[in-house]
Each structure stands twice: as C-alpha cells, then as structure tokens.
C-alpha cells in the first residue's frame, strides 16, 4: 500500500531523510520510530504530498507521490492526523468535521452519517455542538482523528497521536487505534513511544535520517539483542560458570543465585547447558527466556 525506494529529502545542505526504502502492506499498522529530528514528520509530509521529495520514488496504492496528476487522488485516499491537532477552536466539533467533509465531495446526508458515526465512536456525540476550545487535550486529539477519518480513508497517517497526552487519554487513543486496526485500514504511525509501538504495530522501522532497521518488534529484539536465558540456581560458583564457558556459551550476568546466558536457539541449546551445570554440581531451580525490550533495541540502534 505504501512503498518508497531511496526516498530522500534535503532542505538546502541538510538531509532530513536519506534513501528511505520501506514497504507497508495493506491493512498493516506500521510504526515509524526515531528520535526528534530523525525525519519522521518530513517522511509523512512527503507521503501526504505536502512537501516535495528531492529524489527517490514513493507510491501510495497505485498512485505516485510527486506526480502532479496523482496528488489529488492520493489526498483523497489518505487521512492525516498532524502533530499539532490544528482544530478551529471557535467552531463546534460538528462544524469542524462538517467543514472537512465538504472537501471530499461527501453530500450533506453522507456527512451527517459519518459525523454521527465518528463522534459516537469516539464518545464525543453529546458534545458535538460545543466549541473545540472547550475540549480537553484528549478530546481534541480524538476530534482530530475523527477529522482524519471523515472520508473513510484507506490509509491513515498518525503523527505522534499520543504525544503530550496524560496516560489515561493516551490509552484511550491507543485503544482507538487498535479498533481502527480491526477495520483493516493501513495505518502509518509516527511515534517515539516504544511501548506504544510494541503494543500496536505489526511492524516497525527505526529511522535516524536513514533507515536503521525494520521488522516486527519481536524480530528486531531477536535480531539485534540475540536471545538470553536466565538460569535460577541454588547457588552459583566459578566451577559452574567455567563449565558453561567451556561448552562455548557467553555468561553475560552473574548473581549469587542466577546466571544470564547468551544463546542462539534455546530450544536446542538449553539441554546441553543444563547438563553442563548439573555436571559441575549446580542445582537448577528453573529456566526462563528473557527478551530485551524494544526500548533496549531502539537505544542500541539510535546511539549507534
């Protein structure tokens, strides 16, 4: 649904996005992670035909980004939640949505239906006639999402949808994104919240001007941190540690009653390790696999 190849954006001498190649499948929630200034918003703006690309190609569905004949078509099939909600504060929730519905050629009846459906779904129907200025941050964010969905777009771009929200409001928005995911919409989620990406996204890409890594959160964790097991023992001594090292495994953490061991394939390697420990006089109580979080992976990648 979204394909880019060597997509690049330069502002004068500054390269904001450098040779980005990604592929987002239809119906997928794709997380775009990166620190501030990594080029996430610039990428979204290029894909939404808001700013031009310097080089490379990008396609949304069958349409080519940058081709002037396709720009209107792309804008019709996408919805964008911008980093700043940008609502008309003086207008009511209903009028904000009605205004945007007009640009997508929705007739009055269809606009009414969509507005009612969206405001009810987001729990704002009772407040439809109140000015957006009176809304809380979370309510404004919901209204801005409703605005992005007014024309029922196939592709939804969400730029930092939970930034600056309190934890409860952020959870409401995350739940909403999960609901939208069920509707099989393609969602491109810009975020720097790794927990959010891990909970919501099918796949993630990590960007720092250039694409650093891409894959499912689980794949990235495995690929970049390897796998580890934690062996809980009655007591740890040097003989046990040496026995493990002797059979070719790295012990990365030692405590008086546990060891963390780097492994590649725990299903196959665990019996060998346990045998070596038993042979060295150790008494194993239990073994668990410990995974590093997406945060560990992210920090490792971003810090280089």
């Amino acid at each position: 649904m979204i394909d880019t190849e060597n997509l690049t954006k330069k502002f004068g001498d500054l390269t904001a996005v450098d040779n980005l190649t990604i592929n987002v499948e239809d119906g997928e929630v794709f997380g775009f992670l990166g620190p501030n200034g990594a080029g996430k918003t610039t990428t979204v703006r290029m894909l939404c035909c808001l700013i031009s690309k310097t080089s490379g190609t990008a396609r949304i569905g069958d349409y080519e980004v940058g081709n002037s004949a396709d720009q209107q078509k792309i804008r019709r099939m996408i919805g964008l939640l911008t980093e700043n909600v940008g609502l008309y504060e003086e207008l009511s929730a209903y009028d904000n949505l009605d205004f945007y519905g007009r640009f997508y050629k929705l007739d009055e009846q269809r606009r009414k239906e969509r507005i009612e459906y969206l405001l009810k779904m987001l729990g704002l129907w009772e407040k439809r006639n109140e000015a957006a200025a009176t809304f809380s941050k979370g309510m404004k964010q919901k209204l801005a999402i409703a605005r992005a969905l007014i024309h029922d777009p196939q592709v939804l771009f969400l730029d930092e949808p939970t930034a600056s929200l309190d934890p409860e409001a952020a959870k409401t928005i995350r739940d909403l994104i999960l609901e939208l995911k069920k509707e099989k919409r393609t969602i491109f989620l810009n975020t720097h919240l790794l927990d959010e990406a891990e909970k919501i996204c099918d796949r993630v890409a990590i960007l720092k001007t250039q694409l650093i890594a891409t894959g499912t959160p689980k794949e990235l964790r495995r690929r970049l941190s390897g796998r580890k097991i934690k062996v809980q023992l009655q007591r740890v001594d040097n003989v046990i540690v040496e026995a493990i090292r002797k059979i070719g495994f790295q012990v990365s953490e030692i405590t008086p009653d546990s060891l963390v061991i780097d492994v590649n394939d725990p299903e196959k390697e665990n019996p060998t390790i346990l045998k070596a420990i038993e042979a060295a006089g150790g008494h194993v109580q239990f073994v668990t696999e410990i995974g590093s979080s997406l945060e560990d992976v992210y920090l490792k990648l971003v810090r280089g």
Binding site: S52, L91, F103
Partner: protein
Amino acid sequence: MDFQSAWAVAAKDFKILKRKSQVIYITVVFPLVVGIAFPLILQYALYHPKNSLVGRIGVTGLMDAFSVWFLIGAAVIPAAIASYSLVGEKIQKSLEPLLATPMTDGEILLGKTISGLVVPLAAIYAGSVIYMSLMDVVTRSTLGYLYYPNWHMGAILLVAPFLCLLSVELNIIISSRVNDVRTAQQMGMLCALPFFGVYIASELGIFTFNDTNLLILAGVILVIDVVVFFVSRAAFQREEILTKWK
C-alpha cells in the same frame, strides 16, 4: 477550480468571524461613521455658512469629496479581516490539515479572498446607503432635488470592490509572511498608502475624482488585482508554509 470548496473555506471563516466581535466592530465602524457623521457635519455647515467650506466648494462638491472616503475605507478595512484569516490559521496551526485535503492552493486563496472581501464590502455598501439617504435628507431643501443616487456615487461603488480586492490580496501576501495578527494588520494598513497618495493628489488639484477618472481608476485597479492574485498564488507555497512558518 472548485468554487464549492473555496466557498466552504469562506463560509468557515464567516462562522469564526461571527465570534470575533472585535474584528466585526473594526469593519463596521468606519463605514457607519462616514455614513452618519459626514451628513451631520454638512448639516452643521449649512446652518453656519460663514464658518464652513460650503461657500468655497459648494454643497455638491463637498458631498463628492466626502463620498471618496468610502474608497479610503475600501483600501483600509479589509486589512482587519484578511490579515486575521491567514495569521489565524497560522496561530491555530490549522493549515497543515487543510493543505492535506484535496483542495488546491488556488481554491484556498479564493476562499480566503472571498471571506476577506464580502464583509468589508457589505459594510461599505451599507454605509454608503446610509450616507446617501442622510445626505438627501440634509440637502434636499438647499438643493431643491435629491442629489443621490447619482453616477458619481455609482462610480465610487464600482471602484470600491476592486480596491477592496486589491487590499485583501496584498494583506494575504503580507499575512503569509508574518506571525501575528497585529503586525499583519499594521503592515496591511501600509497597503493603502498608494491610494492615500491619489487622495492627496486630488486634494492638491493634481487629480480629480470625476466619473471618467473613477472608471479609469477601476480599470487600472482591476488589472493590478489580476496580477496580484497570480503573485499571491505563486507566493503561497505549501512547502514553505509547512517548513518555515513558525
């Protein structure tokens, strides 16, 4: 160009302006003052002929001179609304979602032009109706006939929309370059300076606001309007708006 989309932008601006009473007051006060105060001044002058201009330039000359103030209004008033309309979008950061819709730059600019034009123009026309009515009431016994409506006022009201349009377009260009409403309005007022030059020229007798000259002025301003519209369209760059506007 989809006029429905442009009208939707203008209609939205009208809804917002209805809640901005300050902007409405600025727009309405000037034409009302000209429409009411000048007939009252003339009435005073007619009752005190020794101290007045009436003796020097005559009643109708004075009425024609007063009516030119509606052109001054047409040059100045749109600054209040046009400057708010784009800077307001900047302040609320509402342009990015708007630019992400299928609307073209021309449609957005046309919508902004309509919203900046309609209210000031309506206020000027309403003020001129009040002015003509009161002037007729005040001068009928002196002149022995109704001076208004006449071709001179017709020519002034023909120039007014073109002048208003020019002011709106210049204010849109200015407000796309500044970040607060006050600066936009102050700079917008400067757009009226060339017209003040014409007005001063008329006071000095270099230029006369007669019917023929007013029609020529209308034609000249219309040509400038068209040129400035294309300049404002070229100046309205989505990329620049999104990456450089603070």
